[in-house]
Amino acid sequence: MLTIYYDGSFEGFLTLLSDFILENRPIDNIKIHNSIFVKSQNELFYEEVVSQPDKAKNFYCYLKRNLPREFFEKIYIYYLCDTASVELSLIKVLRQIEKNPNIWQDFSYDEVIKLHKAERSFYRERHRWFGFMRFIELPNRVLFAKFEPKFNVLPKLWTHFVRRFPNEKIIIFDSLRKLLFLYKERKKALIWVDNFEIEFSAHTDPFINFWKNYFLKIAIPERQSYERQRSKIPLSVRKFLPEFWENL
């Protein structure tokens, strides 16, 4: 069993695909991991795919030329589904697409179902963070939010907030992947960082208390159902939601 690691960047992802599609490497008995989540354990048989921007670019152009447009646009989404482990499924589908151009729509093929499911979960996760993202106002009126989504949704999420708050200064940090988004006066940047910490005191923002209070009072006591609440708000996201913070 050979374990292959790639660095978690889009270039790394495309380099990996290129190795398997254009260079026709065998896919039997292999495992593929994104090294952001699974670090190499120094297994007996392992290999690291080094990102090669030129190779990645060429392969990107190759895909653009050869894939149906709708499917080509999904490739980036499959990359963003980084914890769904769909790399192998995508390679299997891409290998067959020359013979059967409609295979990506054939739901009798298990790998297609896997990709389809990952894509749906990705959009579900993104929609969830449209709602769950909580900004804290820093003293210089910067809105700061930290979150840890299941998939790498930030590249497809920031447009929502920029469109909504065009005149604000925004920082969003995906602390799981160390991906940082910055926005000010219509300029934006999405960058990988080693770490990012901001010190703030929730006491200085009276609206956190107002929100917590509103959150408690809006519930109808006769309808109380923590079970239903838990099914909608997983415990893992609650640390990012001020309404669940301990009393300030």
Binding site: N102, Q105, D106, F107, S108, Y109, D110, I113, H116, K117, H127, F130, G131, F132, M133, R134, F135, I136, E137, R141, L143, A145, H160, F161, R163, R164, F165, P166, N167, E168, T204, P206, F207, N209, F210, W211, N213, Y214, F215, L216, K217, I218, A219, I220, P221, E222, R223, Q224, S225, Y226, E227, R228, Q229, S231, K232, I233, L241, E243
Partner: protein
């Protein structure tokens, strides 16, 4: 425009008056919680170049309160002082409850600050009747005008139309808000007379009719909603849904909310109940969905009884009464045949139609795509083959519900 000075001044005001505002916010949000509507879908506004906010067509839930209901809007009353004495309402004039009022500016500022922090999608503003209907409506409109014209706020706003407010004010409310509503409260004039003596059907209908008349897109339902209380009077489910259906057919509202009666007051005219009829409310929503999205007619839902069965949902009840309609062949049936199958809703039906164009359908494919077959299997065939055992299909009837029960019978 939100200049830095305005932002600082606003923050300072709320910081120095935290205790007072907290108290008023508590009273007014607790007073507003019995309104069931909290949807933020359907808005089409785009952000103003100098402003803040836009609408998301499908709506966004930002949190879920401890009763499991979605929080999407800042749902508050402007004031819970009220001239009316509706017997079911916690804010009735004779009740000795803490009363409060928020100024239009405070409401606008709270909404904006909550919105900036992404706590909410917008504002749901209702109110008790303070002094008179027009005065109350004007105060509410003032809050909305501050939001729309001073802060250039394009987020979602739902405004409650105060019964008895003048036509001009209703028109203005409709122009400024994304959705308006007027609660009809009870399904018959007689029930209203008994429990809400100051209200009348014509008065509650009037704002909705004005909205219907001024809404340009005549072929679409007006962006308005209403709420009916369930279980406070002896009215049957059929009567309630008949009213809802006529509102939908005449395109007066997009949505009717049903609210299980929760006893918050004591009065001889109110029913003595041990538990609010939450299950009945749920069944009414299910039947409402059948009317709006599944192509069912009112008479099909109420063929035998005036009330919906509490044991099974209305679609399963219809299916068991009409076994001659089944089995439905999954590979050939059209959309409206598919959605009649218990367990298959509009999403699954659309998915089945989409996938059968390009791939072969089998039980495994359906399962892998997340289409639930637990109920559907008794009512469908795939390429002529039934999915359930013949003996089980033979035993299907309204008395034998073991097949659909969660527990073993």
């Amino acid at each position: 425009m939100n200049s830095p000075q305005i932002l600082e001044r606003r923050k300072l005001y709320f910081y120095t008056n935290t205790k007072d505002i907290l108290q008023r916010l508590s009273i007014l949000s607790a007073s507003a919680r019995y309104d069931n509507s909290c949807s933020s879908s359907g808005g089409k506004r785009e952000v103003h170049p100098y402003g803040i906010g836009n609408s998301h067509l499908s709506g966004i839930c930002h949190s879920w309160s401890s009763d499991g209901r979605c929080i999407s809007l800042l749902k508050i009353l402007m004031t819970n002082y009220c001239l009316n004495n509706c017997k079911y309402c916690i804010n009735r004039s004779v009740n000795d409850v803490p009363r409060a009022i928020l100024t239009p500016k405070e409401i606008a500022d709270l909404t904006l600050e909550f919105y900036r922090r992404n706590y909410i999608e917008g504002l749901f503003l209702s109110s008790g009747i303070y002094k008179n209907s027009d005065y109350t409506m004007e105060l509410m409109l003032k809050a909305v005008k501050i939001l729309r014209f001073k802060y250039y706020f394009s987020g979602y706003i739902h405004l409650k139309l105060i019964p008895g407010a003048s036509t001009e004010l209703v028109k203005e409310a409709f122009r400024l808000a994304d959705r308006v509503s007027s609660n009809i409260e009870l399904p018959t004039e007689e029930s209203l007379r008994r429990l809400a003596p100051e209200k009348s059907f014509s008065e509650l209908y009037k704002p909705l009719k004005i909205v219907r008349e001024i809404y340009d897109e005549k072929r679409l339902k007006a962006p308005a909603s209403t709420q009916i209380i369930v279980g406070a009077t002896p009215d049957t489910d059929k009567k309630i849904l008949k009213l809802a259906n006529s509102l939908y057919e005449n395109k007066i509202v997009r949505r009717v909310y049903y609210s299980a009666y929760i006893p918050v007051n004591k009065d001889s005219d109110l029913p003595a109940i041990l538990e609010p009829p939450f299950l009945r409310e749920h069944r009414l929503y299910q039947a409402d969905w059948l009317l709006r999205f599944y192509g069912f007619k009112l008479d099909e839902i109420f063929e035998e009884d005036e009330n919906l069965s509490l044991r099974i949902d209305p679609k399963l009840a219809w299916a068991l009464r009409h076994l001659e309609f089944f089995p439905v062949e999954i590979t050939k049936a059209d959309y409206y045949e598919l959605v009649r199958v218990p367990g298959i809703g509009p999403t699954s039906a659309k998915r089945i139609i989409k996938i059968r164009k390009n791939s072969e359908i089998s039980e495994t494919t359906l399962k892998k795509l997340g289409i639930p077959l637990k109920r559907a299997k008794y009512f469908i065939t795939i390429k002529g083959k039934p999915l359930a055992k013949f003996s089980q299909i033979k035993d299907l009837n309204q008395e034998n519900l073991c097949l659909f029960s969660e527990k073993k019978c």
